[in-house]
Structures are given as C-alpha cells and as structure tokens.
Amino acid sequence: MIAQSFNYESPNTLKEAISLLEKYGEEAKILSGGHSLIPMMKLRFASPEYVIDINGIPGLSYIKEEGGNVKLGGLTREAEIEHSELLKKHFPIFSDVTKLIADPQVRNRGTIGGNLAHGDAANDHPAAMLALNATVIATGADGERSIPIDEFFFGFYQTALQHGEILTEIQIPIPPKGTGNAYHKLERKVGDYATVGCAVQITTDNKGVCTYAGIGLTNVNATPLRAVRSQQALIGKPITDATIAEAAKFASEDCNPSSDLRGSEEYKRHLVAVLVTRMIHKAMERAK
C-alpha cells in the first residue's frame, strides 16, 4: 500500500538532525536503513508526520578499535559488518548474526543502529549485544550519554532513547583470551525473523573455569532477553555437559515465547534449550 503523507527532512549534520528531532518531538521518526520503518509506513502501522533521513550525515558509519573496545557507528550497514575483517578477529558472532538478517539487498541498507533503536525483540543484534555486554551511545542536544545494554530495551518498540536522541555508536569491550562467541537463529525460511535465536559469549580461564557468560535470546520475550539464571549456572565452574544442560533448562523456563505461526510456546521453549546448548558448544570451540 501507499504510506500516509509526511514531511521529509534530510539534514547534513548530526546537530541539525537533533534539533529537528527536538522541534518535532513525537511526530518525528529517524530514517536510517529504513527497512523496518518504510515497510511499517507502507502498511500504515507507522505514520510519522516528519521523517528525518540521517543517511546524508557523514561520520556515523565506522568500525574501529579504540581504548579496549570495538566501536561501531550507528549508521554502519549490515553488509559492511558481515564482511568486516576487524570484527571477525574478536567477534565472529557478528558474521553469524548479520548473515542471518533478512537478505543481501536488505543488508545493503539496514544499519546496526536502526536494528537496535527499533526496539524489536525479533531483531537479531539485540541478543548479541546482551551476550557481549555492549554499551549504546545516544547523542542529543546535551551531548552524548552511555546506556548499558541491560538498560536499553523497555518493551515492544520501546528503548531508552528519548525524543531528540539518536543512537550514534555501539561500544563492545574486547574480550580477553579464552573467549568465544556465537549466534544462531532457527527460522522457517531464509530471511525470516527468528523462531528462536540465541547469542552466547563465554570466557574460561587457564584452569578451564568459566569467568564470563553472556547469553541473549531473540524473539522469545517482549524484549530481547538476557538468560540471567543460565549465565549464573555457568560462571565460577568448569563448563561441563551438566552445567550446559542446566543453563539450557533455565533459559527454556525463563523465556516467554508466544504461540504463533512460527511455533507453539512449548516448541519454542524446547528450541531455546537446544540452541543454548549448541551455542555454548560453538562458543567454546571458538575460544580455543
């Protein structure tokens, strides 16, 4: 269908974009990759009065290593993330995630900032950001503010971003040696949203004891879900079949999947346990 009429602005600077957002408040939406927003507007599920296109703003798309973190600009395209040699080095999970996002054409436009800012638990990056303990940088009229990922997702399409703020950067701490990370999602067909998705990052010390476990789940909750009890089941002990099974069981119990066209609640809970198990094994493989 055809979107409702709207006003279109394409600012050339971040400052201009923020002041437009402040001016129009609730009636404005940011256009980044546009592959969540425009389909919603075509179906008239979203009808913002003002669309602020930030694609013309330089300096928002980058992947760099700085101060012990990998930093990604909010406007970085999924296609670039998919093929980034820098990311493959510490974070093969990014390749896992991006190659499962939609399809190549969508990945040429979709951005990681938009993927997170959309606030959809069915998007793939949020679970990985939970597993990696990322920090989101939001830029507004008063400057930048850091939002830990656990404080970022509030509910259906709701994030910690205020009106007048743009998600400009994602920071991910570079993990120590002995760390592996992985993501997979089960889908009905290629390009689909997740039936269930699971991101894992694990660190073990030189005695084989787990010192860090980050587990994020996709599309089994109103918000991207951190499997807290599962993480706790792993940390402080060696990773064994028993601890993995316990982590898988807790994740299965603690998520809140809906029965829908992708599967029943029971089926999804079962898949969560399966995927948590597989991803812990894959992360451990990569930690070697």
């Binding site: 409702q4 279109y8 507007m41 075509k42 179906l43 296609a79 054409q105 040429n108 436009r109 290629v190």
Partner: protein
C-alpha cells in the same frame, strides 16, 4: 510539500518534483516509465523490484524516491546498450532457461550483477545464499543458479558450462 529530485537512471539524468512518500520503484515505473522493474509483494520480501543504487543491489520498494536524489540507478533496461549485445547475465538466463514467466528475472539479474562483482567465482551455495532476497514462483531456482554460474564463467573468460537441462 513536493521535493525536486534529480536521479541518474541508466546514465540519463531525470529531474522531477515528487511527494516524499513516492517509493523509488514507483518513480522508476510511473514517472520515468521504465517498467522492467516489477512489484511482486507489499512486504519487502520478493526482490522483484531490485535495482542497483550506486552499484549496490537494493529493493527499490523500500526506498523513497527522495533518497535517490543525486544518486545513480541502474535498472534492467540499463544493462545492455540499445540494440547492443546482451549482458552475460541476460545471455546466461536466456541460454539456460533461467526464467518461465520472467517476473522475478530483472530483480534476479540485477542482484546477480552485484553478487558477481563482489564474488566473481561463487560456489553454488554462495549463489543460493546470494539470491536469498529474490523469490521465484516458477522455476524452482535450479536454472537460475545455472544461469548465474554460466554468466560467471563467461565473464571470467572461462569455458562455458553446458546449457543442456540437468535432471536432479
């Protein structure tokens, strides 16, 4: 409020005043009258609308025409010069029966243009993943893959694989 945009399509500059909500695919089809780019869904799934925007394959139904201002667009009509030889991909689809109804074909071909540019010698698996954003209701994809493999060989100056039908 109308916006004045200038888009270079297949090497020719077009200027028009458009509503912000005009999709690029509608601009291509209805303002410039290039109807080789097709609309096959309403959900950004099918890829029949795929064009090249500054060389990248994009679903033109999920971009606003105003976003293409100052940019270059290539549609299926722009692949071969008027009266000139077919692009190897067009020839490949012809030789290898890569289409039945042809509705998905322009999108498939333009996607394959970028695919082969980034990866001139793709494996079968890479081709199948590479066209995962383009749906075909007719062919079952095997001949599409074959056509792209044929074109890849032609573009690298390698011996051409057989165009005979295969039984799988």
């Amino acid at each position: 409020m109308l916006h004045k945009i200038t888009v270079t399509v297949n090497g020719k500059q077009h200027t028009a005043e458009v509503e912000p909500r005009l999709l690029l695919v509608h601009f291509i089809r209805e303002v410039i009258n290039l109807t080789g780019t097709h609309i096959g869904c309403d959900t950004s799934s099918c890829g029949a609308c795929t064009i090249l925007l500054d060389g990248k394959s994009i679903k033109s139904c999920t971009l606003l025409a105003v976003q293409a201002n100052g940019k270059t667009v290539t549609t299926i009509e722009g692949l071969a010069p008027d009266g000139g030889p077919l692009h190897p991909l067009q020839e490949g689809f012809k030789e290898n029966h890569g289409l039945h109804c042809g509705f998905c074909t322009p999108g498939m071909i333009l996607r394959a243009v970028e695919l082969l540019e980034n990866n001139p010698n793709p494996t079968e698996n890479e081709i199948r993943w590479g066209i995962s954003g383009n749906l075909c209701r007719c062919t079952g994809y095997n001949n599409i893959v074959k056509s792209i493999q044929w074109a890849s060989a032609k573009m690298q100056g390698k011996p051409l694989p057989s165009s005979e039908p295969e039984f799988v």
